[in-house]
Symmetry: C2
Subunit: 481 residues, 2 copies
């Protein structure tokens, strides 16, 4: 059928959708899926399986769910189990509290659009305990994952100002949810480079450069900071956060603090400080600034990506704007109740003295300790490979090494019509089954090449993956040198 028979064609498709890119699920990942199908059909390859190191998908890489989370979810889903002695009392108590917050006592009912009140209260309590600063549950808005929560706040900024389109500052490299969403919303992406030579630190002079340049073409309204960093794995110091807050205040920017990796801190000496804590402790005028902080069930020690739970804590939003924000989310009815329930458990985990406390701690610490070892293993391995340099993975779930590509490889990439890092990643995939994401999907200083790999394969598999990677790299270098 010729394209002209269609009412909806590339020519009259939403132009923002056309330019949107989401590298974490881009062409490389599509090819990885094809290879998986080929392997299933028995096609011979130099490897037995595809290793999806492209996405922070914990359980897919063999991480086991936290027992307590799943027990409570089973109880709220099928309340007949509340009388089953195989479930511990604290799980039952949590489940009853959640069900009491559900209309008709069923997780099948709609909730208020910002989420179930008792769960929002548990989120506020978690934040208060984390920061040592009170939190108001009415500032907590639950979403279907942090991505959903982020989009719902970003959406408010779509408004031309003084004849200029809005701009939002994002780190480069960045997590492509931001570039994709800004493209979809036709908001100008104002990239500021992280400093690779100071372990992806955030230089205020670079923020100034970026905003001044951007002001020529747009009206910058907000700054996104990802801490711990994705894809870069740095953990910001308190001093760095203070400087960013001062910058944002001076430039009157709404701060988006993407803090979904707040449990994932590995490096000795690194510590997580929330933007909320720092901003409030700095006192006025900073403590009155507009801030949205985002958290998720998908990362940390729980890794429940598929359940889609997350929240925004929104501080100091103008009250009429907040009413509009809450109105805007209402048309989507409510975030998934089981995602909300998962969030509830993470916010209100078993306490000392409760029957599930020890198992919960053991499982939680087991995951985090193992991730810490893997973070080091990955960075160390890359740093031992010719042409690679990799910053310490202080936090989050990724390494983002730089790789020097031989000029012949760059030429070969050009011939193949691919960016050099994309070319490298495709070669790696076809030869080893390892699926990574090229740096161009996140942004990088022009002329440099990187890629992101997760640290999530289980230790044995990760070691095998890194061995294969090193072997491939040697062959690649000899082929193109």
């Amino acid at each position: 059928m010729a394209s002209t028979e269609h009412s909806l064609t590339l020519d009259n498709l939403n132009p923002n959708v056309k330019v949107l890119e989401y590298a974490v699920r881009g062409p490389l990942v599509i090819r990885a899926g094809e290879i998986e199908k080929e392997l299933e059909k028995g096609t011979q390859k130099p490897f037995d399986e595809v290793i999806k190191a492209n996405i922070g998908d914990c359980h897919a890489m063999g991480q086991q769910p936290i027992t307590f989370i799943r027990q409570v979810l089973a109880l709220v889903t099928y309340p007949k189990l509340l009388s089953d002695p195989q479930f511990p009392e604290d799980a039952k108590e949590r489940a009853k509290t959640i069900l009491a917050g559900c209309r008709g006592g069923s997780v099948g009912s709609y909730t208020d659009s910002p989420g179930i009140e008792v769960i929002r209260k548990h989120v506020a309590q978690y934040i208060a305990e984390r920061d040592g600063i009170p939190a108001d549950w009415q500032n907590v808005v639950i979403g279907a994952g942090a991505s959903d929560a982020i989009k719902n706040v970003l959406k408010l900024l779509i408004c031309d100002i003084n004849g200029k389109r809005p701009g939002v500052m994002i780190p480069i490299p960045q997590y492509p949810l931001y570039s994709a969403t800004l493209a979809e919303f036709n908001i100008q992406q104002v990239g500021y480079y992280l400093n690779e030579s100071t372990n992806w630190g955030l230089d205020i002079s670079e923020l100034k450069r970026a905003i001044e340049e951007a002001r020529k073409t747009c009206y910058p309204r907000a700054i996104v900071v990802i801490n711990p960093g994705n894809p870069t794995g740095q953990v910001l110091s308190r001093e760095n956060i203070e400087a960013i807050i001062k910058f944002a205040h001076k430039e009157k920017l709404f701060i988006f603090a993407d803090e979904v990796y707040q449990h994932n801190i590995y490096a000795p000496g690194s510590k997580f400080f929330s933007f909320k804590k720092v901003l409030v402790e700095m006192g006025e005028p900073y403590s009155k600034m507009e801030l949205a902080s985002f958290m998720s069930c998908s990362k940390g020690y729980m890794g429940e990506c598929g359940l889609r739970g997350g929240y925004a804590e929104v501080l100091n939003m103008e009250p009429q704007v907040k009413a509009m924000y809450l109105k805007a989310i209402s048309a989507m009815l409510c975030p998934t109740v089981l995602g909300q329930a998962c969030l509830d458990i993470i916010m209100n985990p078993p306490r000392k003295g409760e029957p599930s406390y020890e198992l919960f701690q053991k499982e939680k610490n087991g995951v985090l300790e193992s991730l810490k070892l893997r973070a080091k293993m990955v960075a160390d391995t890359f740093n031992s490979m010719e042409g690679f340099s990799c910053n310490e993975v202080q936090g989050a779930m990724y390494a983002f090494p730089q790789i020097k590509l031989p000029s012949k490889a760059i030429e070969a990439a050009k011939k193949a019509g691919k960016a050099p890092d994309v070319f490298y990643a495709f070669e790696l995939l076809e030869n080893t089954g390892i699926c990574i994401v090229p740096g161009s999907g996140f942004g990088q200083v022009p002329g440099t090449y990187h890629f992101r790999t997760t640290i999530l394969p289980q230790p044995d598999k990760l070691k095998a993956m890194l061995d294969n990677f090193a072997r491939f790299h040697k062959q690649f270098l000899s082929k193109y040198s």
Copy 2:
């Protein structure tokens, strides 16, 4: 704090968010929530509880979940239960199939953005059995509820054409997801009136009038049809659907068939025909038309609103456009896996001979039979009240009666700064605790007044509600006559 201290104010807020309205969760519902809190605190009212007849929230109104659905969900969530003899074998078999489709065997993993392959295949099989026409699983895109699925397709249409902004035809009265989403997307709403005097039938002459008028100010690209109707409860005849398809073909419109109430057919003589079935059976050129049909876990006999599961079946989409559509949804990663799992069970329910078949059928038919009785009870009661006229509730979950308001009441409303139907609804709420949605939230012929009430309260409560309603209405009439 003065508004000028904020970076984000009403003045520079997304203008589309400002105009967006979602009546089903509007001011009346907010007031209902306040009244609930007042009752909790012991405030004396002429009633004991708020009855939320404003929203199709089945479990909240006392409908019990289908046992089999919840059993399978508990099993996939906490797979240790797979060895528990209290769960039937067919539930275990369904759970194992779903888990085999999840990466790492966990519902905590991300899935492909359009959903788990095996679930998409079950959806296709359900559609094929429903229509007697083959369905391609690759045309099935799962979403976090039908609302999410609808928005993801509507979004593609945001594109000015020939210097005009896009327009989408929607029924008036309509379900406010459409008006809210079109406002958010800055797509022009092109309303076509349903004909109340022919039980909310769809007149082709009215479609022609609406599109011709709209062409002056926008470029109409699509038509939304809700069948069975929300808020109007009609079930379209096959002939009516054929005429709509011919109209859409002539005008080159993308058809959005909102068919989430396809299980909710009550009236003798009414039968559900999917747009897909009719369109395919009409043969070319109609069978080549672009169509998206939407379905949900939230309605029907299951009423699992809180789990957020639904799908779009997208037919004849231009292949490059389809690739863009799939790319656009990828940035939101994936719909909730437990919502997908719920959808799977509805698409692949227990079959004859399986251990859960009889209980499942009993529960399913019990809900549908009871809704059928309630549909009749509601329409009959309203028709027995002075000044009311109510069409037969042939399907869906709502009645949308018309009410003649005395001129004194209209004056009183004007004085109170409210639309007359909104005024009536507030009076009803404050005096009886019954929360309905005024017709102006859905659209109505100017000068007529309606409201939407669900038929969802359980029979005893529904009867009491209707009695209170009738009593209130008498008092209202005597007050304003």
